[in-house]
């Protein structure tokens, strides 16, 4: 059966196509293979080995150690586990705040600058996009100045009578601080007594530290411009007829946005959320140039921890293991979000809104 199809394929007029197909794609396959697939596979091997950074990881003296590197991170009970837990905690809060805020802000900006009547649209588009094209190192340095204890941000806060925090040197968690205002200094024993990945649940719930909040603001500031561009492109692709039809049906601006425009933006929304999620989980250069994980390890992220573990601490296997756990986290989140945003049949409850029910009195 299969031989006959193969024969048929070979002998046909299109017989040579497979070969030329491979030939044409070969440069890309070789490039991707050499610079992406093979290094990733090598790193995967390193994460299961006891390679110590000297010579090739494939030499005879390097041996397979199974899940040792991984188990030190997720159940070792030592400093490695505690650091990894702290890094995950910090980054989880970062993602939780950055991704929704930047998506909403970029959509909002896109809708604003997409309006036909706005004067100087080009200027605003460029202005909003500007932070995205500036190098993240430059912006980080700018941020360090703006948010220093005597910097511009605290001066501004001073004008309205607020005594600003010492941003990049304040390790206290924002949620803990808010609870502190209401007199809650220590968590209940159920939270402080039990730990996950080496840090207590009360610490997991600390929220981003004040220092991390400054990074969150920075991420929103720098990335919303890029995503605004994606949304503008999508908005300009939408046909005006659907919106006009909605207008004729009597939908107001608010309804048109939520019920007509936004559903049509679903593919773009998926792109923006996915890119945002990946970028937010991989935050590295801001930390490397800015705080190196301080104050009090509250800006430590898995990506930076991986670098530090490998290059500074010479624990190459563990560093690679962190990178692969991070990889799994990102893939799981992306799949979850894909499922969340998938096109589904309209539910019965929703359907009721669209079904034409003859109204005796007629609408206004």
């Amino acid at each position: 059966m299969s031989t006959s199809t193969r024969m048929a394929r070979r002998s046909g007029i299109r017989g040579g196509e497979a070969a030329s197909g491979w030939l044409f794609t070969a440069p890309m396959i070789i490039l991707l293979g050499m610079f992406l697939v093979i290094p990733v596979l090598m790193a995967l091997w390193v994460s299961f080995s006891d390679w110590n950074g000297r010579g090739s990881p494939f030499s005879g003296s390097v041996s397979f150690v199974g899940f040792d590197n991984y188990s030190a991170l997720v159940g070792g009970g030592g400093l490695a586990e505690q650091d990894f837990g702290t890094a995950l905690r910090n980054n989880a809060w970062y993602v939780l705040l950055v991704v929704p805020i930047q998506t909403m802000l970029s959509l909002f900006l896109a809708v604003l600058v997409n309006r036909q009547i706005l004067r100087g649209r080009g200027f605003f588009r460029t202005a909003f996009y500007f932070p995205s094209v500036t190098s993240s190192v430059a912006i980080t340095v700018l941020w360090l100045f703006l948010f220093s204890s005597t910097g511009a941000v605290n001066k501004l806060l001073g004008f309205i009578g607020v005594n600003g925090p010492n941003w990049f040197n304040d390790p206290s968690g924002v949620l803990h601080n808010i609870l502190g205002v209401f007199g809650v200094q220590n968590g209940p024993a159920a939270l402080t007594g039990n730990t996950f990945l080496g840090i207590s649940f009360w610490e997991w719930l600390a929220g981003p530290s004040v220092a991390m909040s400054a990074f969150i603001l920075m991420a929103v500031f720098t990335t919303s411009g890029t995503f605004m561009l994606l949304f503008i492109a999508a908005l300009q692709n939408l046909g005006g007829d659907v919106v006009e039809a909605a207008m004729m049906d009597g939908a107001n601006g608010w309804q048109r946005f939520w019920r007509v425009t936004l559903p049509q933006l679903r593919p773009t929304l998926f792109t923006v959320l996915t890119l945002g999620l990946i970028g937010a989980w991989q935050v590295f250069d801001q930390i490397y140039t800015g705080t190196q994980g301080g104050p009090g390890k509250t800006t430590l992220t898995p990506a930076y921890l991986s670098y530090q573990t490998a290059f500074t601490n010479q624990a190459w296997g563990q560093g690679a293991a962190i990178a692969f756990i991070l990889f799994v986290i990102i893939v799981v989140f992306t799949l979850f979000q894909r499922w969340l945003l998938a096109e589904r049949a309209v539910s019965a409850r929703r359907m009721r809104l669209y079904v034409q029910t003859p109204t005796p009195g007629g609408s206004k």
Partner: protein, 419 residues
């Protein structure tokens, strides 16, 4: 469907085959020198020049090292090239992984154990002609597993830096320079005003550890074989620092809006600070108008104490010309070279025979060198850097924290390293 599957399989097969071929190349290129040990003959392939990798503090240091290396190169006839690393740890690691490391390089105490244990370093200490001239405490900082690995390049100690103008303005005289903890607390309080704090220091182990040393404690014993972090002495040292913090007479530099103790001191946000001799460079360059003097840190319950910091000249085990590298290091650690380094960018010579000349050349900085007699090194066991950075994270909230609990967790982490 079937067709697609088989194509996909071919693609995957090709990729895997490619990966295997490449990785085979990778392992094939190994030199088989994995067992390079210190006992054997030094390599001496004189056809190859030396490469020297340094982490420079600035132009002055780069120029000075360049000049010293060029002088040696002229004399010995071996080519040598100095390059400045932007990220020393990373560039070293890359070199070792590729088995093409720099021949001679700066190496810090906390990186020693990692590279020594994986065989990247040549343990050449015992072959140095000037071996006995180095301060013993520096030698023990660069001894790993009983082997003296590399020649200390220079060193620094922490001492008390005092702003003489603010000192006089507060009505204090030379007789008031503190020699005990109580006196330090008193003058710090006197010097604290609305615009300045008495003592402003970096809130990390590398400064607060001086108080622990004055109380007679240290994180690990001399040979880094036993953790002593939660000893009563260490707790006493930290609790003393805590009382100063709660008094308001001592603050961390970050609280004062400065990056480090020297910046807070230079901006006159603090009247005193605890820093090493590197502060002199910063004062000359950034704050030339601030007058200051250096005094030894006051005695604690266990007498004088301070911390010392040092780097060494590492030589790679994979270097093709170790003999020339050793000769270069002997030249760079010689009295003349070290004194000219010191004149150019400020570190203290690591050899005892240069002490007198250095003191007479730098009479005002003599307290730093005096520290060599009683200074304690920082732990150099593998992984200690992580434990110290964890300790630093906790010390940031020392003011409201529990010294015993902080040190207990450090003790636990250090013990884990020794297993």
């Amino acid at each position: 469907m079937q067709r697609r599957n088989s194509r996909w399989l071919i693609g995957a097969g090709l990729t895997v085959a490619g990966a295997l071929t490449l990785s085979a190349c990778g392992s094939g290129s190994g030199f088989g020198s994995d067992t390079a040990d210190s006992g054997g003959e030094l390599t001496s392939d004189s056809s190859q020049g030396l490469s020297i990798l340094i982490g420079s503090s600035g132009d002055a240091e780069t120029a000075s090292v360049n000049a010293a290396v060029a002088a040696w190169s002229e004399e010995s006839g071996t080519d040598a090239e100095v390059s400045v690393a932007s990220d020393l740890n990373q560039q070293l690691a890359q070199g070792f992984a590729a088995q093409k490391p720099a021949d001679v390089f700066y190496l810090s105490t906390d990186a020693l154990a990692g590279y020594a244990s994986n065989g990247s370093l040549l343990a050449y200490g015992d072959e140095l002609a000037n071996k006995d001239d180095f301060y013993p405490s520096l030698v023990s900082s660069f001894t790993y597993d009983g082997d003296f690995y590399c020649a200390p390049k220079d060193f620094s100690t922490l001492q008390l830096i005092i702003n003489t103008d603010l000192w006089a303005a507060a009505g204090l005289t030379d007789a008031d320079i503190p020699t005990t903890w109580d006196e330090l607390a008193t003058v710090a309080k006197t010097l604290t005003t609305g615009t300045q704090v008495g003592l402003g220091i970096g809130g990390e182990y590398a400064r607060l550890g001086a108080f622990m040393a004055e109380a007679g404690g240290s994180l690990m014993n001399e040979d880094s074989t036993e953790a002593t972090a939660n000893s009563a002495e260490n707790v006493e040292g930290l609790e003393y620092a805590q009382t100063l913090l709660n008094d308001g007479s001592m603050k961390y530099a970050t609280e004062l809006g400065a990056g480090w103790g020297g910046e807070a001191f230079g901006k006159q946000l603090s009247a005193m600070t605890i820093e090493g001799n590197w502060i002199t460079g910063a004062m000359t360059n950034d704050f030339p108008d601030v007058n200051y003097t250096v005094a030894e840190l006051p005695e604690g319950p266990a007498g004088k104490g301070t911390l010392q910091f040092t780097n060494c000249w590492g030589i790679a085990a994979d270097s093709p010309n170790q003999a020339a590298a050793l000769d270069l290091v002997e030249h760079l650690t010689s009295k003349d070279a070290q004194l000219s380094f010191s004149a150019d960018f400020g570190p203290m010579p690591s050899i005892q025979s240069a002490a007198e000349e250095w003191k007479s050349a730098n009479p005002t900085l003599a307290p730093f060198l005096a520290g060599a007699d009683y200074a304690k090194g920082v732990p150099n066991v593998q992984g200690a850097a992580d434990v110290v950075s964890d300790l630093n994270a906790q010390l940031e909230s020392l003011k409201t924290g529990d010294a015993q609990a902080i040190l207990d967790s450090t003790q636990k982490n250090l013990e884990a390293l020794l297993k």
